[in-house]
């Protein structure tokens, strides 16, 4: 249901509303929020460096397009795999708990950024000079690719809620020790959720890079990408399918409508919103519905 409505919306809105990039971004943030939800909502680990996967995806795909002349579709998939690879390297971080994991992950994303932006590697990554992909520029195709990514993320997130795998993750979140005793392979389940989450960010980053086709390292490693995704998930309600979608729709919509006239208020508003959410509504908007006995997918 949710998936169908989303798809229909993104298929038909472009005919009436022509800021395609805004719609693209909205889809992208929905996918990222959903990807973040898979790891945070279902396991409780909040990756503050989530943008690292996004950047890895954007660069992974751009580099195979430039050097190996791949066509964009397989390149986007490869971007996802590049992010998965980074995710695998970071699996040891799960030995850390809570906030340590978050900050170590942030450090990892920053480190990756500085490696890619380093002029010594300019012959490989183009370093600080950035990427330019005029040869494959095709915003329409990138738009539909992003829609496919979003659908994939939604289905994945929806499946996780219902499947045994999702239940197992929930059990780990509540209490890893008793989950282990109940026969859940904690380490493996968490790693799978982590890599899926990384994959979604990677393909999103790759599609983004393809869409805008000219970007610098700081564009695709901008901390604000993580911040947006986190705020959208928190606002909507983590651990649900609908929450991140609603969060993105409301907040990113507001960001673009009010934000254009007075963007300087936005950081302030977002900051206050985070504080108020944590203090008064830590489970997000959808928890209001659930309190009234309405089931939220």
């Amino acid at each position: 249901m949710v998936v169908a409505i989303t798809v229909l919306a993104y298929v038909f809105i472009p005919y009436g509303y022509n800021n395609q990039f805004l719609l693209f971004n909205m889809m992208m943030y929905m996918a990222l929020a959903q990807g973040l939800n898979i790891i945070y909502g279902y396991t409780g680990y909040l990756p503050f460096g989530y943008v690292g996967f996004f950047g890895a995806g954007a660069y992974g795909s751009a580099l195979v397009i430039i050097y190996l002349h791949w066509s964009p579709f397989p390149a986007v998939l490869l971007g996802g795999l590049a992010a998965v690879l980074v995710g695998m390297l970071l699996i040891p971080l799960f030995r850390l708990s809570g906030a340590y994991f978050s900050i170590a992950n942030l450090a990892a994303a920053e480190a990756l950024y500085y490696i890619i932006a380093n002029p010594h590697l300019a012959s490989v990554t183009q370093g600080p000079y950035g990427i330019s992909l005029p040869q494959v520029y095709d915003p329409n195709a990138a738009y539909w690719t992003m829609l496919a990514i979003l659908v994939f993320a939604l289905i994945l997130s929806g499946l996780m809620r219902r499947s045994r795998f999702g239940l197992a993750l929930g059990a780990i979140r509540e209490n890893p020790v008793s989950a282990e005793m109940a026969g859940v392979n904690v380490v493996r389940s968490r790693a799978i959720a982590w890599l899926l989450s990384a994959f979604i960010a990677g393909v999103s980053g790759a599609a983004f890079g393809w869409y805008i086709s000219v970007f610098y390292p700081e564009t695709v490693f901008s901390l604000s990408i993580t911040v947006f995704a986190i705020v959208f998930v928190l606002f909507g309600g983590s651990g649900t399918l609908l929450g991140p979608l609603v969060g993105t729709l409301v907040l990113y919509g507001a960001y673009n409508y009010i934000g254009i006239s007075t963007p300087q208020y936005f950081q302030l508003t977002y900051g206050l919103l985070i504080i108020l959410l944590v203090l008064f509504l830590p489970s997000g908007l959808t928890s209001l519905l659930r309190k009234r006995g309405i089931d939220v997918p």
Partner: protein, 413 residues
């Protein structure tokens, strides 16, 4: 019967309106641009936007910009959004300007980073992008086959240090150290200087980059000193330059020549941050308004006239960004006054037609087929003491020089 008649009248009216629409001139010329009120580029971006706004006010005071295709003056409406120095937001806003506001002319924000996202968009939507200060060479590569971009102001950044290299050569400098911050703009200047010096047979004894965010140079300066260079060139954004010069002044080290690029762009910003003493005898480029193009100007106000008018309108310090913003307005003005048809292609062809033939307060306007600026060049200047403080003065080449370079710099400055 009556209903049929009404319908026919309505249809006819619509048809007339549509056909007229194609011919009729727009009631305003919509110019779309972005600026950054916050973030990394805000200082320069705001100035540049002020310069463009000033041009709009002036032209509207005359009743609008003359559009040859319609044979009359049409008022200009500037549509501007704030991108907060974020490329993500900028991409969305450029898109909005093109697809929703349907602007007639698109002007980029300051610098290569914020311009970058507009380049493919403008090409895709076939609208000429007036690029004010986005000097990255990769926007103008022949293989992009992009006709929809025009660099109105500065030359591409890789051209900048060519005169500097000649200057070093002319002074008989044999050993040069080059340090640069890891970004597109600084890196391409450093690369060019390195290559040009090597071709001239000058030894580049130190060639290293530091991260963009470096603001402490003392240790690095000591490593550079180990190589005993006669000249040190540091390329970075203004906070890099400021920290570099400050740390140099406090280090007790001495180099006969030290070069940084930012005094040319915003002299007062740098001077206020580091103080007169530390800046004395430092080299930089010189660009308008420090070079005063007055006699040469064939189109628009001279630099002195511009400064006077700008001050009268309540504008504060004029720097290169202000001039660049205003100059973009002038180029748009000339393009609309030249293009026989009000289409993007005709506007772009018109620019080629007057390219190389007009000289504005920003210098000779000359672009190549792919929109890169090839007319302007950046002479070398040096910060020299004056009665009231210090000033950046052109010292090389001789046709631009207004003062003589003090080389080597005095030891106890």
């Amino acid at each position: 019967m009556l209903r049929k008649l009404v319908l026919r009248v309505v249809l006819a009216a619509v048809a007339t309106a549509v056909s007229l629409g194609a011919w009729a001139s727009p009631s305003v010329i919509k110019i779309g641009t972005l600026y950054a009120s916050s973030g990394y580029f805000s200082q320069a971006s705001t100035r540049q936007y002020d310069g463009l706004k000033f041009w709009v006010r002036q032209i509207n005071a005359k009743g609008g910009v003359y559009v040859k295709a319609f044979g009359k003056r049409i008022p200009v409406k500037l549509i501007a959004y704030n991108d907060q120095s974020s490329t993500m937001l900028a991409a969305s806003l450029y898109n909005r300007l093109i697809t929703q506001d349907r602007v007639h002319t698109l002007v980029a924000d300051y610098g290569s980073v914020l311009t970058s996202v507009a380049v493919p968009l403008a090409q895709e939507h076939r609208i000429v992008l007036f690029d004010e200060t986005g000097t990255s060479g990769k926007f103008f590569r022949p293989e992009n086959r992009n006709r929809y971009i025009v660099l109105t102001g500065l030359p591409t950044s890789s051209q900048w240090p060519k005169v500097l290299a000649k200057f070093m050569h002319s002074k008989g400098i044999r050993r040069v150290a080059i340090l640069y911050a890891a970004n597109d703009w600084s890196g391409s200047q450093a690369k060019t200087l390195n290559q040009t010096l090597k071709q001239d047979g000058v030894d580049v004894v130190y060639f290293h980059s530091v991260p963009d965010s470096t603001t402490s140079y003392s240790t690095i300066l000591h490593s550079i000193a180990e190589y005993k260079p006669e000249a040190v060139a540091e390329f970075g954004y203004s906070d890099n330059d400021i920290a570099f010069v400050q740390d140099y002044a406090n280090s007790g080290l001495y180099f006969p020549m030290v070069f940084i690029p930012n005094p040319a762009l915003h002299f007062e910003v740098v001077r206020k941050a580091v103080g007169n003493k530390a800046l004395r005898y430092i080299y930089s480029y010189v660009a308008p308004p420090i070079i005063r193009y007055n006699r040469e100007v064939t189109y628009g106000p001279t630099l002195n006239e511009f400064k006077a008018a700008y001050a009268k309108a309540g504008g504060k310090n004029v720097d290169l960004s202000t001039v660049a913003g205003f100059n973009t307005g002038l180029i748009i003005q000339k393009a609309l006054a030249t293009a026989p048809k009000f289409t993007q292609e005709s506007i772009r062809d018109a620019i080629d037609k007057f390219s190389g033939k007009i000289f504005t307060l920003d210098g000779l306007f000359k672009v190549n087929r792919y929109g890169a600026q090839v007319g302007e060049f950046l002479p070398v200047g040096q910060v020299l003491p004056t009665k009231t403080g210090v000033a950046l003065k052109a010292v090389f080449p001789s046709e631009s020089a207004v003062a003589k370079a003090v080389y080597p710099a005095p030891r106890n400055k």
